[in-house]
């Protein structure tokens, strides 16, 4: 539900009003704490700490932006898909990404942040989105690697988010996760067909896997000792597992699946640690991660430019639809 109550604060409060406000805060905090302790859900109109609201708006809107920007590397290949079937599949997938963006913007809106504002922040370069989408998709095999590894990493990240303490976010993630599994399987299938094709095709698949491996692992975010917000997010039941836990789990899944593909992962240091019972991987270039996040990746400028262009090109459509709706409403009220 997108409705919410906004309370304006009068300029001057009487002592009684101040006391009343403090009591309201204390009761709200107590209720919120109880919900957290019971691992229950917070809904949009419930009292919540200002920092909880702010964190969620930031996380959900960044997530939405990632879906919207994520349409670009793949949309780029729709016209060059190798068959009509692949073209139809890719179009459905890109359409899903748009849908995921909209589910998530809706969830963020229930916290009081208007969608237009979020979109404007993205276009102004004020908002962040997943660094992965600032890498170029060079060949058709990249469609496979993106589906298998990038969507695979996204799923590993998103499945626990279905249990996020904020109701609308969790519900949006349930919907997203159901749809993502098609994305991952279609990517796997692209790679499988290439890896069992001609030697050139197999090489193309291997090179795509090599290109996307490290960026996909970095999608889980910085290592735990360098992830300042994680602890609070876990205390608020938004995040359920640490970045490294999810990343290690993902590496283990990749290791099994890559055998079926008859390809290899470009990491000699992957091993299963018998003591910790966890998968480990080789070092990742976190300087590169931070550079890309700061806007200095291979495609950042291009991605934002394309987003602004699409928004501007759609202006007349939005204006026409609004004008038509106004005209119809006037006719209706005149009749």
């Amino acid at each position: 539900m997108a409705t919410q109550t906004l309370q304006s604060v009068p300029a001057e409060l009487t002592p009684e009003q101040l006391e009343e406000a403090a009591r309201h805060e204390a009761e709200g905090q107590a209720y919120f704490d109880r919900v957290m302790a019971e691992d229950s859900r917070i809904e949009p109109r419930d009292w919540m700490p200002a920092a909880y609201r702010k964190t969620l708006i930031r996380q959900i809107s960044q997530h939405a932006h990632s879906e919207i920007i994520g349409m670009q590397p793949e949309a780029n290949w729709i016209s060059r898909a190798p068959s009509l079937k692949r073209k139809a599949i890719l179009m459905a997938k890109v359409q899903d990404e748009a849908g995921h963006g909209l589910y998530l913007y809706s969830a963020a809106e229930t916290l009081g942040q208007p969608r237009d504002q979020m979109m404007q922040d993205l276009m102004d370069g004020k908002a962040k989105y997943s660094s992965i989408f600032n890498y170029p998709a060079r060949t058709w095999a990249d469609m496979g690697a993106i589906g298998w590894m990038v969507d695979g990493a996204a799923i590993a990240n998103q499945v626990p988010l279905c249990r996020a303490s904020f109701g609308p976010y969790g519900r949006a993630m349930v919907r997203v996760c159901k749809e993502e599994s098609f994305h991952q399987r279609q990517g796997f299938e692209i790679l499988l067909e290439l890896s069992h094709g001609t030697p050139e095709q197999k090489q193309m698949a291997q090179e795509a896997v090599n290109r996307w491996y490290a960026p996909a692992l970095m999608m889980f975010g910085p290592p735990d000792d360098d992830s300042p917000n994680s602890k609070q997010s876990m205390a608020w039941n938004i995040k359920r597992f640490s970045n490294d836990e999810l990343r290690n789990r993902f590496v283990g899944m990749m290791m099994e699946q890559v055998k079926v593909l008859d390809l290899t992962l470009p990491d000699k240091d992957i091993r299963f640690n018998e003591e910790t019972k966890k998968w480990e991987h080789g070092p990742l270039d976190w300087d590169e991660f931070h550079e890309v996040l700061k806007g200095r990746g291979p495609c950042n400028a291009q991605r934002l430019e394309r987003r602004r262009e699409a928004h501007e090109n759609g202006t007349w459509v939005r204006e026409a639809a609004a004008a038509y709706a106004r005209k119809q409403a006037e006719k209706e009220s005149a009749a």
Partner: protein, 100 residues
Amino acid sequence: MSPETPAGNVWPIWEVFVRSSRGLSHVHAGSLHAPDAAMALRNARDLYTRRNEGVSIWVVPADAIASSDPDAKGAFFESPQGKDYRHATYYTKSEGVKHL
């Protein structure tokens, strides 16, 4: 019913309810922006039923929905509290009696 379309191009929010198959109620699926009811229905179809999730859709202007006050949920839902006798499970003496 159609909500006030703002003067600018910010489209109002609509809540979407989807009936997943015949015989079931419409259930809240999410929300979206649209300039009018006809567009809201089309957007809802594209956004919430891409995989045959529905056979019927309702769209309702978000600001047309009245809801109970979340801060008063204790008092508002107080009446059924402690009235276990409204549930079949309250009546234990009939345990073991068939078809009851």
